[in-house]
């Protein structure tokens, strides 16, 4: 315990910021924002430090910190990251920092807003840094509340009211987590019986779950698939996503689309797949099929949208379909692709939402036909928007291409024709991404937007930070894959070992 508790600091820095903010007078808006920025920045800096000092030679779970908590349930406050969770932890820390700046202009009750935002960031972060199922669930439930409040108070009403959107999102997440809980409790009960002593750590559960019967594995996986699937907006449990994003304030959309969805994918890999490999093998084709459905379906639906946030909302559903497909391929390449793609999508979706947020803030509309010609008046926002659009359509050289490519390879290997349908999705993606960009930004400039101010100062931070990650990650994919490899290779080895014991279907 002599070491500096890096992960704990990363986790608690936003909480500390929230606490400080709680004691600041509500009029000190700038100070409040600075505190939030400082908290999230600490988190981000340390996350980068963690990411680059993670020893890829050794691999495994590193930066471990264990505090026994509830003995009777086998719960340990077990912090640690490996190649699967590290990229996602980095992602949330980056997004958290950017989200603070993306909401720099929040004027309505800024103190409450930033406190909730910081709590939200911590909650999401917690799910990624823990190696204990109970703590994972705890943090996950912690996330739901701030999101709901943030949408209800600071959201915007368009096609659906913000209350409806917030309610739908929250209830969906809760239903998902209720199913999840059923699976987790069942898993816990059964494994505790097998182990003799309760153990909630992922590794312990996985070890015990090997002796579960095939039927148990299958039904538990199904329950978890539903839980995590509705979290990752798996088709057909996706409809909260576009509405929710449309209703949410910018920062929430960023964090939600960027990372919160990824908790679903992460959980699917880290818990469902790792602990219940036999179930995973049974359900893999279903996952892949639903993933492909999501890809095509949501891409087509995005094509019909006129509201920028709806476009990105559907697009993120579509992209999560790729993740499902990749997870369904049950191979190292697929899992690598899935995790890297989650990271990539987090960055680009966040950039997209932050730019849309700025556009909305300045023009007070997100309705594409009402926009147009903006690139003359607000070139920096437009550049960011186009960057995000191009990343969305998987342009090589940006962060999303290589993960997409690996996913395609893995999926193609396993599912052939099904994967072709998913790959065809890239055409539709290009169509809607470019249409959105073209109709909103290009074309003849409109007079009513002549007075608009381009982003400057702190508002530039999301663009700079996310844009840099977007490009650097695209040019040097090995930065991402070297770390992810450390997580997926042992994971897949365990899964394969378990499958060999469990026998074939």
């Amino acid at each position: 315990m002599g070491e500096f508790p890096v992960l704990l600091t990363i986790l608690l820095a936003p909480v500390a910021a929230a606490l400080i903010m709680a004691f600041l007078p509500r009029e000190e808006k700038l100070l409040i924002k600075c505190v939030a920025a400082a908290g999230t920045f600490t988190s981000m800096a340390l996350a980068f430090y963690t990411y680059f000092t993670y020893d890829t030679g050794t691999g495994g779970v590193q930066f471990v910190q264990q505090i026994p908590w509830i003995k009777d349930l086998g719960v340990t406050f077990y912090l640690g990251v490996d190649g699967v969770s590290l990229p996602l932890m980095l992602l949330i820390s980056i997004l958290g920092f950017s989200a603070v700046f993306a909401s720099w202009n929040v004027d309505h009750r800024p103190r409450d807003f930033f406190i909730l935002l910081c709590l939200l960031i911590t909650g999401v972060m917690g799910t990624f840094v823990t190696q204990d199922l109970f703590i994972f669930l705890l943090f996950y439930e912690m996330v739901v509340i701030p999101i709901y409040i943030l949408i209800i108070i600071w959201g915007s009403t368009k096609r659906v009211t913000k209350e409806y959107a917030g309610m739908k999102l929250t209830i969906y997440l809760l239903i998902g987590s209720a199913f999840l809980l059923v699976g987790v409790v069942a898993l816990f009960m059964k494994t505790a019986g097998i182990l003799g002593a309760p153990d909630m750590s992922f590794a312990g559960l996985a070890r015990a779950a090997k002796s579960l019967s095939q039927f148990d594995q299958i039904w538990m996986f199904a329950v978890m698939l539903f839980g995590f699937g509705s979290l990752i907006s798996m088709w057909p449990f996706h409809s909260w996503s576009p509405d929710g994003y449309a209703g949410a304030p910018t920062a929430v959309s960023m964090i939600h689309a960027g990372v919160l969805k990824k908790i679903g994918g992460y959980g699917l890999i880290r818990i469902a797949l790792y602990v219940l490999p036999v179930g995973a093998q049974f359900w893999a084709p279903v996952m892949a099929f639903l993933g492909v459905c999501g890809v095509v379906y949501a891409a087509m639906a995005a094509l019909a949208q006129k509201d920028l946030k709806y476009i990105v909302g559907y697009s993120s559903v579509s992209h999560m379909g790729y993740v499902m497909l990749a997870v369904g391929s049950l191979s190292v390449i697929g899992l690598n692709g899935a995790i890297a793609y989650m990271f990539a999508h987090g960055i680009m979706a966040a950039l997209f939402f932050s730019m849309i947020g700025f556009i909305y803030e300045k023009t007070h509309t997100r309705w594409v036909p009402d926009l147009g010609g903006l690139h003359r008046q607000i070139p920096k926002i437009s550049a960011g928007f186009m960057l995000a659009a191009l990343a969305t359509l998987g342009l090589p050289g940006l962060i999303s291409f290589i993960p997409e490519f690996t996913i395609f390879i893995a999926a193609f290997n396993k599912y052939g024709g099904l994967a072709v349908a998913a790959i065809a999705g890239v055409i539709v993606t290009a169509l809607y991404a470019l249409r959105a960009g073209a109709y909103a930004l290009f074309g003849p400039p409109r007079e009513e937007y002549d007075h608009l101010q381009d982003i400057k100062g702190p508002e530039l931070v999301p663009l700079v930070v996310l844009g840099t990650v977007l490009v650097v990650g695209g040019l040097l994919p090995s930065l991402l894959f070297n770390v992810i490899n450390c997580g997926t290779i042992p994971l897949m080895a365990e899964i394969n070992a378990a499958l060999q014991i469990g026998g074939k279907f």
Binding site: M300, G397, I409, F442
Partner: protein, 640 residues
């Protein structure tokens, strides 16, 4: 120097990239400085490329065994992707050509883009474009090439849509990108299949493995499928039928861009790709056949459209499509030499023609209709005469460059026994001469249009024209049938010397001459153009069909708007009304219904609640008491 250049060939794509970064982030407020940086980077690249080319061409073994400098890009179990530079004659030639033509176009753009508000941005984009193009050319693996491939697509999107305030430019840019994207879908699938079957995407490794494809349990049918899918990419990028529609529309961009994209570089990327993976196509004759037919058909098809077009750059665009069809035809009949040779000469004369057209457009304030021009030769002598050189070159009159390469293609087609394709190609040669001189006569000779006040362009624009005109003349001399140096450098398999076939040569010159004469007859000699109007009237149907480009754009537009958008609408409505409306809100409604039903129980009266509460207690109590095993015997109360 040569060795240094070869060892540092990676600098060739890198320098324009740096120029892009520098311009975008640093020198944007200073247009001239930006231009100088871009031109400087390009010239340095050209310098390196020249020495690299010299180095490659002095070591003949590189054709068999290309020089590869590669580093690992990323890897994971079962997948290792390298990036690097591959040097062989083909890539060296391409690099040299791209940097050379690129430099000239950049210099030209200094003048052409004068007074444009987006001056710096323009130079940053074209630098990026050059960088991606060079990456594409120099890449050592298919993935890396795909990066460049999509990168040039992106840049062409940005550049075609450079005048973004124009709706037509915006639409053209989008169309270009998406059309290519459709094609790239095929390419991507092809890549995946290649990777799946051979486990690598490095050109060198693939070149070794594919000839022995049976060893890797790959059936010939699969290989044919792969080849076909890979060929989809070039169809889109090189504007082959049926995905040629984006290319004419792409003329919305600034003229240097048209020259850069349509003449020298991007559109020939498809040809280059086919040449690069010739080892794949070579194994599947059926797809080779397809390549040849596609090329031949496109050549003829585009040429017929070009005959009736009125906008100067559109004519050139269709001519480009047609010429690339030639290149494809050459590759398809198995002559890499001829295809690449035509690519090389075409780069010069088409760049020349586009830049000349740009010069005309500047002088006429962007009035593009050739029927409204006339007599420009006197007012703009340099532009006019260099344009004439370009026309002669493309028409295929010896000793200009186009003649040699076209001759090579015709010869290769004939030798491979594709007589129908040969006939099509020959007829296309005739049409090419006709429509190019139609353009020339309409624009540069005849009566001046009094509405125009043209004057010669500044020297930054005319000097590149002169240089290009020189190259259009001498560029073909490396590959004359008598002393064919070209075929010793650039070939697939083994060098192939076509015997000089004078029949073909004379035949093609005669056809070209006939075309030029007809153009002269209709458009120059007949000053009032009565005959040609008469002709158009008589064949009204054909004329309209040609003028409207066989209505292919309309068909696509209809498909896009009706089918794709319609399907999108259906999906969206399905989402709103079925998934959301029936399922999600349905579940919510059922829940709500239950709530509604149970609401009456919430009377708000405490005593009601207490009553029910006691009933519940009673029930629990009874259940506990009467299911307890104790009740079987006497219940023991009190102390035990």
């Amino acid at each position: 120097m040569v060795e240094y250049a070869m060892n540092h060939a990676w600098l060739i794509p890198l320098l324009p990239t740096l120029a892009f970064v520098a311009i975008i982030f640093l020198t944007r407020p200073w247009p001239l400085l930006s231009a100088l940086i871009a031109v400087g980077a390009m010239l340095t690249s050209c310098f390196f490329a020249t020495f690299t080319a010299i180095g490659v061409f002095t070591s003949p073994e590189l054709t068999e065994k290309p020089l590869v400098y590669a580093v690992n890009w990323f890897n994971m179990p079962g997948m290792e992707i390298n990036v690097g530079i591959l040097l062989d004659p083909v890539s060296a030639m391409m690099m040299f050509m791209v940097t050379l033509v690129g430099s000239l176009i950049f210099i030209y753009a200094i003048g052409y883009m004068q007074d444009d508000p987006g001056y710096s941005v323009f130079f940053s984009y074209v630098s990026l474009f050059a960088a991606f193009m060079l990456l594409l050319v120099a890449s050592s693996s298919l993935v890396e090439m795909f990066v460049g491939w999509e990168g040039v697509g992106l840049c062409s999107y940005l550049l075609i849509g450079f005048y973004q305030h124009k709706i037509s430019a915006r639409e053209a840019a989008k169309k270009a990108f998406i059309t290519c994207r459709v094609a790239d879908f095929g390419l991507l699938l092809g890549m995946l299949l290649l990777f799946w079957n051979f486990g690598t995407l490095d050109f060198a490794a693939l070149a070794e493995k594919i000839p022995h494809f049976q060893q890797y349990n790959v059936s010939a049918a699969t290989l044919a499928l792969i080849a076909f899918l890979v060929f989809c990419g070039p169809i889109g990028k090189s504007g082959q039928f049926p995905l040629h529609v984006w290319l004419p529309d792409a003329m919305e961009g600034p003229t240097p861009v048209s020259a850069l994209i349509h003449a020298a570089t991007m559109v020939v990327a498809g040809v280059y790709l086919v040449a690069r993976v010739m080892f794949l196509f070579h194994e599947v004759p059926s797809v080779m056949q397809l390549v040849a037919v596609t090329g031949g058909f496109t050549a003829l098809f585009a040429a017929t459209i070009a005959v009736t077009q009125r906008e100067i750059k559109r004519i050139l665009a269709y001519s480009t499509i047609s010429q690339i069809g030639y290149m494809m035809l050459a590759l398809g009949v198995g002559s890499l030499t001829a295809g690449m040779f035509h690519l090389w000469t075409h780069a010069f004369f088409k760049a020349l023609l586009f830049l000349g057209a740009g010069s005309v457009l500047v002088a006429l304030h962007h009035k593009a209709d050739v029927w409204e021009m006339g007599g420009l030769l006197k007012k703009m002598p340099i532009t006019g005469w260099t344009f004439l050189v370009g026309c002669i070159a493309i028409a295929g009159i010896p000793p200009f460059a186009g003649f040699w390469s076209k001759d090579e293609i015709l010869l290769a087609t004939l030798e491979s026994g594709h007589y129908v394709l040969f006939a099509m190609a020959a007829f296309t040669a005739f049409l090419t001469a006709f429509y190019m001189f139609r353009l020339f006569f309409l624009a540069f000779t005849g009566a001046e249009n009094p509405a125009n006040h043209p004057k010669e362009s500044p020297w930054v624009m005319t000097v590149p024209l002169i240089f290009l005109a020189i190259f259009s003349l001498v560029g073909g001399w490396v590959g004359t049938p008598w002393a064919n140096v070209w075929s010793e450098w650039i070939f697939f398999g083994h060098p192939h010397h076509g015997e000089p076939n004078y029949m073909v040569m004379i035949g093609s010159v005669v056809l070209a001459g006939l075309g030029i004469y007809l153009a002269y007859y209709f458009y120059c000699a007949d000053r009032e153009k009565v005959k040609v109007r008469e002709l158009a009237r008589r064949y009204q149907g054909i004329y309209t069909l040609l003028y409207n480009k066989y209505y292919i754009d309309e068909i696509y537009l209809w498909l896009n708007h009706t089918l794709v958008d319609g399907a999108a609408k259906i999906f969206y409505l399905f989402d709103i009304y079925v998934v959301d409306g029936i399922i999600v809100n349905g579940v919510a409604a059922i829940t709500g219904l239950f709530g509604e039903g149970l609401r009456v129980t919430a009377t708000g009266r405490l005593q009601n609640y207490a009553l029910v509460f006691f009933l519940g207690v009673l029930a629990v109590f009874v259940v506990l008491a009467f299911t307890s095993p104790l009740l079987a015997g006497p219940i023991w109360g009190g102390v035990r």
